[in-house]
Symmetry: C2
Subunit: 220 residues, 2 copies
């Protein structure tokens, strides 16, 4: 049963947090736009205090930016910000692979395949937005398998930023989202027994992703 939809969010502020996060990563709100607390609270049907607690967590993730007494804005990432995100992501994912490497079981690898199949299916269906989600789920595999909760948590903090900007660029440039073949080597190496090759490929894989993303930023 796929009730794996993380059964936390018992509290209202957590549900509002997810709502807001989805609003942002779905691209409903433009970078730089100001969030009016009173108005937004009424829209979401919650009190200002509850909304503020949710917003504060999004500020820490990096989706929002707060300027004291001035307001909270949708964060507008610069090229430097994106470069930093990608470099940290590379470092974290390499660490995840080092840890999960001896833990790769038959079931785990089947799981990896499922995530890739899911990604391919969404690409075929021209579901660009869904493909972005699937690609991130594919990359979550090594973090989850590592069993390193702090590492996973770091990735979970990074992930919304990536999703946000993938979506933005996909919307702005009408590009097709992830490529079909982009993860073939990734999957293949994840099955093999050469960790060094995997780590090296990761570096290149990330560098390619960053370069492609930066191109769209530049052509903007």
């Amino acid at each position: 049963m796929p009730s794996s939809k993380s059964a936390q969010s018992d509290t209202l502020k957590d549900r509002v947090l997810l709502q807001l996060q989805q609003l942002i990563v779905a691209g409903q709100l433009v970078p730089g736009a100001k969030l009016l607390e009173t108005q937004l609270a009424e829209t979401l049907g919650v009190s200002r205090a509850t909304l503020r607690e949710a917003m504060n967590r999004l500020v820490e993730i990096g989706l929002l930016e707060n300027k004291p007494f001035r307001g909270t804005y949708i964060r507008d990432l610069s090229r430097v910000d994106l470069t930093e995100i990608y470099s940290l992501r590379t470092c974290l994912e390499q660490m995840a692979f080092k840890i999960c490497w001896p833990k790769r079981s038959r079931v785990a690898l089947a799981d990896l395949h499922m995530r890739n199949d899911d990604l391919l299916a969404r690409i075929s269906a021209n579901d660009a937005c869904g493909a972005i989600t699937s690609e991130l789920r594919l990359h979550s595999w090594c973090y989850e398998l590592s069993g390193h909760s702090l590492l996973l948590q770091s990735w979970e903090r990074l992930k919304p930023n990536l999703q946000f900007y993938f979506t933005l660029h996909q919307q702005a440039h009408g590009r097709e989202g992830p490529q079909r073949e982009s993860h073939n080597m990734y999957i293949e190496l994840a099955h093999g027994d050469n960790l060094e090759d995997m780590l090296e490929h990761l570096e290149m894989h990330m560098q390619q992703g960053l370069t492609r993303t930066l191109q769209f930023v530049d052509s903007q």
Copy 2:
């Protein structure tokens, strides 16, 4: 002008955050202890809403743990938690050194020396608590020099956890805090031109720190 003391904390909730954080890392509050909002808010002289916003941030850092509808507690780190913190810290600090390596100027290295001298001075003065702070400031050097704001931010999130547990163990076991010689090799390698040696030493340095910390946890 050393007004670099990051002029944030304009708002009350930020000041409360720092207050609370210092209360915790100073060991005034025992792990597992429950924080009563009403009482704590009155003690600190702020409203519950403001206190909650500060507490939420400490939950994200990892110093506090929130159980919905049950309360917020001083986090009690397990051996696994400590191991995770150390392994992630190793990874981040290695990344910081890779980035800052070509940026080491004469001034930067002088700064590193100052931080080490400060650490030695506090050790000599038998100021165990201050020595802990100094040791963490010493390790902050590579993150700051790297200029990688996201990396620095990750370190800043990890740091309070280390400070908290160093303080706890120092209090519980009356140990003398950091050793005089423990960073000699660290400093020396940071001056040299062999990055690989530096990275390798880091791994060992961290492993030693973790082992020593875990010994105290076990002997508890």
